[in-house]
């Protein structure tokens, strides 16, 4: 890292940072209740939070609520100010103008993925929400996993059913807070699933599907929290890897058994819902046959869907630095099994890696 204490900060950069900070303070906060299915209680949690905030003196309104209302929800609604939906082209939709005019501190918006009828300000409700946030109104909202654009294929495959509306995952990731509304698939949820256009299914298959969706929702929430944690540590200048997520780094060399490393790395990534990355350190004086072996390993790794990073400098130091920066918890390296006296005396690169490593395990693989 450059010696930042001695370099003068670029004034443009400073200005941008200040502007970003001001923008952050001017915008409303976004809080999302995420569920993996309907019926887990997202709306209830959102309204209950609205009630509590109101009791603490915040100015809260309900901007949109789903049409099907259960008794516990209607009890909560009685305690809150509601801005009625308005009709556009005969379809009920959130009344953004009135909310902006009323300008509450907090607006509760159910069903973030809702599509607006043609002729509305925005095509989707999440864009309405973005506008409320830009106007400095904080929003508490709900979304179902199946409506997140990037996860739709996977969810549709599991549910056998596709929905049209969607919210981009980046909008979810930018949320100030995400709260998972978790519940095991009880009869209520299963009933909810079965009441779709899907045929009568056996209960085990439904349970199995719900579990798959639940798992995806939990991992998504964990990823969002991980991102928040990273930002927080960075903002506060804390250089510490927390190892909350399992991250495997495969070190590729010409003689590394990449196939074996990828197989094991893939198992660990899947088992832990973690990450798998690979890196190689550029060696300027590599013989042609070694170079082609390395290329073959890089290709194999990319074909496996694993990103390969190119590092430069001292082989061990650059790996140590990369591992630290990326919060790696396990490093995979190949090792020659030859017993040579020189290595015993002065130590091998592996020896150096083992001595200097901090915060991660080293898994040694026999080389080819």
């Amino acid at each position: 890292m450059p010696t930042s204490a001695l370099t003068r900060p670029d004034p443009d950069q400073l200005l941008r940072r200040v502007q970003a900070e001001e923008e952050y303070l001017r915008r409303g906060r976004l809080k999302i209740f995420l569920g993996y299915a309907s019926g887990v209680g997202k709306s209830f949690r959102m309204l209950d939070e609205g009630r509590r905030r109101r009791e603490r003196g915040q100015d809260v309104v309900v901007g949109a609520i789903q049409t099907v209302i259960e008794s516990d929800i209607s009890r909560l609604l009685q305690k809150l100010e509601i801005i009625p939906l308005k009709k556009v082209a005969g379809v009920e939709t959130m009344d953004v103008d009135t909310i902006l005019q009323r300008h509450p501190q907090v607006c509760l918006v159910d069903g973030l993925a809702h599509d607006n009828p043609p002729g509305s300000r925005h095509a989707s409700r999440w864009q309405d929400v973005d506008e409320l946030l830009a106007a400095g109104i904080s929003v508490v909202t709900t979304i179902n996993l199946g409506y997140i654009a990037e996860l739709q294929d996977e969810v549709a495959r599991i549910r056998n059913k596709r929905v049209d509306q969607s919210v981009p995952i980046d909008f979810i990731r930018r949320a100030d807070e995400i709260v998972l509304v978790d519940a095991p698939p009880d009869a209520h949820i299963l009933h909810d699933y079965a009441s779709g256009e899907t045929q009568a299914q056996d209960i085990d298959a439904l349970r199995h599907r719900s579990a798959q969706l639940r798992e995806i929702a939990l991992v998504l929430a964990a990823d969002v929290v991980d991102h928040q944690l990273e930002c927080y540590l960075e903002r506060n200048g804390i250089q510490q890897s927390y190892g909350t997520q399992e991250r495997v780094l495969i070190c590729l060399t010409p003689r590394a058994n990449a196939a074996r490393m990828l197989e094991i790395g893939g198992r660990i990534r899947d088992g832990f819902h973690g990450e798998l990355v690979a890196a190689y350190v550029e060696q300027p004086k590599l013989a042609a046959d070694q170079r082609s072996r390395l290329e073959a390993n890089l290709e194999l790794t990319r074909a496996f869907g694993v990103k390969v990073e190119r590092l430069e400098g001292d082989p061990i130091d650059s790996i140590l630095e990369f591992a630290h920066k990326r919060g790696i918890t396990q490093v995979f390296v190949g090792h020659s099994m030859r017993d040579d006296w020189k290595a015993r005396l002065i130590g091998t690169p592996l020896d150096k890696l083992l001595r200097k490593r901090r915060g991660f395990d080293v898994r040694v693989f026999p080389q080819l």
Binding site: E49, E177, V179, L180, V181, D182, A183, P184, D204, R207, H208, A211, Q212, R214, E215, L218, V219, A221, A222, V225, D226, Q228, L229, Y232, N236, I238, Q240, Y242, G243, T244, Q245, E246, I264, R267, I268, G271, F272, H273, Q330, H335, M337, A343, R344, L345, G347, T348, L350, D351, L354, R355, R357, R358, G359, F360, D361, V362, R363, V364, F365, P366
Partner: protein, 379 residues
Amino acid sequence: MPNKPERGNLKIFLGFAAGVGKTYQMLEEGQQLKAEGVDVVIGYFEPHARKDTIALTAGFETVPRRTVDYRGTLFEEMDTDAILARHPKVCLVDEFPHTNVPGSARSKRWEDVLVLLDAGIDVYTTMNIQHLESLNDQVQQISGVRVRETIPDWVVERASEVVMVDLAPRALLNRLERGVIYKPDKAKQAMNNFFRESTLAALREMALRQTAHEVGSRRQDAGSDKPAFESGGNVQRDSSKRILVLVTDDPSSVALIRRAKRVADFIHSDCIAVGIAPLGDQAARARALTDKHLNFARNLHVETRLIEAQSVPETLVQFARANSVTEIFIGWPKLKNWLPPFLRNDVQKIVRLSKGMQVTVVDDRRDTAAVRPGPERDM
């Protein structure tokens, strides 16, 4: 011949800190069951002077606690025998990781819960992620706190359901500041360890990932048509994979066992711990310590062996070969860093001898706990 009662179901409400609402949610679900006519009782409830939570206990039958006299002081514990006699369909038990006062029939509350389950009673219980045994070292690294009351992972695996009780850390800190969770003096103390925003975020992430793992492994088990507890939780072990952990008298052995067992569990692999202790009278202490570490492994349901031999690398690798081990987990004896490589340790030798096996040198995560930032709460 009378049939053994069918084992009760265990449901765990998993949180990441005091005050996220575990007990609240447990009681709420209990109330729902009760409304449906299910016979639900409270086996143990810790009020913590939280108004909303106490209100939810209304209408429940509570099995009175047992009073225990320990060195002149009276303690109250869950009365397992009384619950067995009452035999409800569902029993609500707060604070799963609790340690009973000495002289109790069982030393841990989770052991009491296993007794209830064996008798066919369903149990709902609460715990935080920091009490999970296999995460103990990581939790210390993150929070600076060594949690003493832990629950072995195999006990959590027995649960038929694990539910994550989630709350945004900021909301939790608000509750803490308003005095909802602790009284002011304790709240201030709490803010210095678990209740820092970064610590809460890290613990929360761990709880989310652990719950994802629990859901995933139960889903995979469902394919095998066996209830989770019969196959021992997430066991559809891949018998071609076998992890061997080298246990010594070094105190880092404990962290090493935890880590190896966690990896084995997550990749559905077998795990075996082998202690190698030198022969002879002067090595009695080393043997005793090694044995103590092996006992720790057994408590985590890891199979163990104790071998008496002089040369660790040869003995270890020989054993590994004879027992079709595919991976070896070892620690890194850190005191010997200053020695020249050929004298330093057995690691290189094990790597050399174990041709064809993978050798994992496990980081002693207790080392990194030292780096702790100063006060960082900016709310």
